[in-house]
Amino acid sequence: MAGRLSEEAVVQSLDTGWQSLVWKSKYSSKNISLSPSVDFTAILDAKDPAEAAQAVPRRDMYLALVTGGSEVALDILPLLSSEQLVTIMDNEAWHDGQLAIHQAIRWLDLYKNMDPEFLYQRFRELDEEYQVGFLNPYIDMVDEESFEKLPHDEQDKFTAMPCNTLWWRVKSGDEKIQEFVSSLIQSSISEDAAYIYTLLGMAAMLPPNEQEALLRQFRDARLEEDGFVTTEESRALFGEFDGEALYSKWKAVKSDCSSDLSVTGDAGVLFLDAVMSVALSTGRADQVAVDNVMRGFGYLANAVSGACHVEPDDIHGLSSLLSQVRHTVSFGLEVLSSGDVTKALEILFTEYPKVVFQFAISTVNSIRAEAISGLMALSPANASKLESLWKSGKFGSALWLIDRDFLETLGFDSAEVLKGLFNRFPLVKEEVSSLEGVERVVFRPLATTEDYSALLSDVRKYLSFNSGGTLQ
């Protein structure tokens, strides 16, 4: 197959770790969001609504607007600070690392529909690189001499500036772009003609993509503040990690035996959430501290997004990542604390979520290593390839290889267990569903020490070997 259904495209999908294999969580997802909720009613009812809106952290406001929908956005958008507006552009106006003007227009049109003057005002508040970068590919300007040399039908495509010595046109047949640029220029001319002369001059004269390249650097730096690290750093979160050192560190910490804290043992609640509830109910932490820890999970989801092929504006994708990282961290927390709630609380408020996450992944690596050694007996060449792909963080290619080279030898069930094991986020086989002879394994994210044991047991059962790989 070619194009979107090529091997490369499917491998990329497998590489995300959350999009391809069927998985569902056993745990409640209520109260789980990428950021603390924003009370729009309180903002609008505030004495100074603009001040109240601008006090909300940039990304929290962006996520709240996106999830709230355009009805909410219309009331709040006029109140935003320029930094909050730039955050919207940083998240929405890009696709695959390139400026995506249609996405920007979607937001800026909301201002235009309120009042054309708003469009000029808010556009001007964007970084200069955004202003020029948006127009740069689409603006053509000529002086009087060049204009006179043009054929009449070409001249008709140009519009005169107020001075009648310069003419501009939009270099795009796209009606939305034409309408947007024209509206922007018209509203700007009536507000500040000098500004639009400078802007159009820069947009027409600067080399193509120069501003976009510069802007990309600024945008990446801003996104990094919200946890969106580079793809390399993101991939590193799934790589080598000295789990032994962290485990030993926390094993040596004596638990406060005087306290009698315990989680309720509700099977529908993640250990992580149970520990947070205990923190709140016993007064060990206040809501602000708990919110900060929760925000840390949002940052972690953002941090893994680069490796998982999720864009900063993909709220559904980021929510799936948040779910995955919370399960993984919950497992890591349970192992590090040996299920001791007091110790778990200390870990949670001491270690960064990413450290516990990396520890959890490194713990599962012992099962992966055991599986590889078992597969060596079956097919040394393919087992070596699988090991190499796993260790170099090419999880999508690893899953593809399992389907292609191990399915026939191992059979459906074993191959699926292996795929869950070598998935970017480790998954445990939950059930098999079938429709007219077509079978599909439904997985659950690895979230507890019981899940770890089940995965280890499945690997040994299906691969028919038994050596090493025990959980500490």
Partner: protein, 141 residues
């Protein structure tokens, strides 16, 4: 114009169904993909159906393209239409399943190539039950 024997075509369709299930497994959940295609020489039609076990959710997504309008081989035309339909499926699944097609054919233009799509989510299970109910009541009267 043909892009292979009916057996080859059936195998290709099965492969596409497998690839789509692999690509979008997490979003599909317990739903499965079926792919059918046929060509009458002038028009290529592809139907990709997403459905669950009890048929309470059946979403046939149909696409068609005129061979004569394209400067492409039969296989290229098929891949082109499949790519476009896949792009829609990704948008539909990744966007919370809120992007719908029209019930009747709608025209699309992709890189200067014209094609048509249509689709409607059905609850075949409920329709079957309703039919049984109607037939049953007719039998009583």
């Amino acid at each position: 114009m043909s892009s292979g024997t009916s057996v080859e075509l059936s195998q290709k369709n099965q492969l596409v169904a497998q690839l789509l299930e692999r690509k979008y497994g997490a979003w599909l959940g317990q739903r499965f993909v079926e792919v059918e295609s046929h060509s009458d020489g002038a028009v290529l039609t592809i139907k990709i159906t997403l459905r669950n076990r009890d048929k309470s959710y059946v979403y046939p997504i149909e696409g068609r393209i005129m061979f004569a309008d394209q400067d492409m081989t039969a296989d290229e035309t098929r891949d082109f239409l499949m790519d476009f339909m896949d792009a829609y499926i990704q948008e539909y699944l990744s966007g919370g399943e809120e992007t719908y097609l029209t019930i009747d054919w709608s025209n699309y233009d992709c890189d200067g190539v014209e094609l048509q799509l249509r689709g409607q989510i059905l609850n075949v299970n409920l329709e079957d039950l309703a039919e049984q109910l109607i037939n049953g009541s007719e039998a009583v009267h």
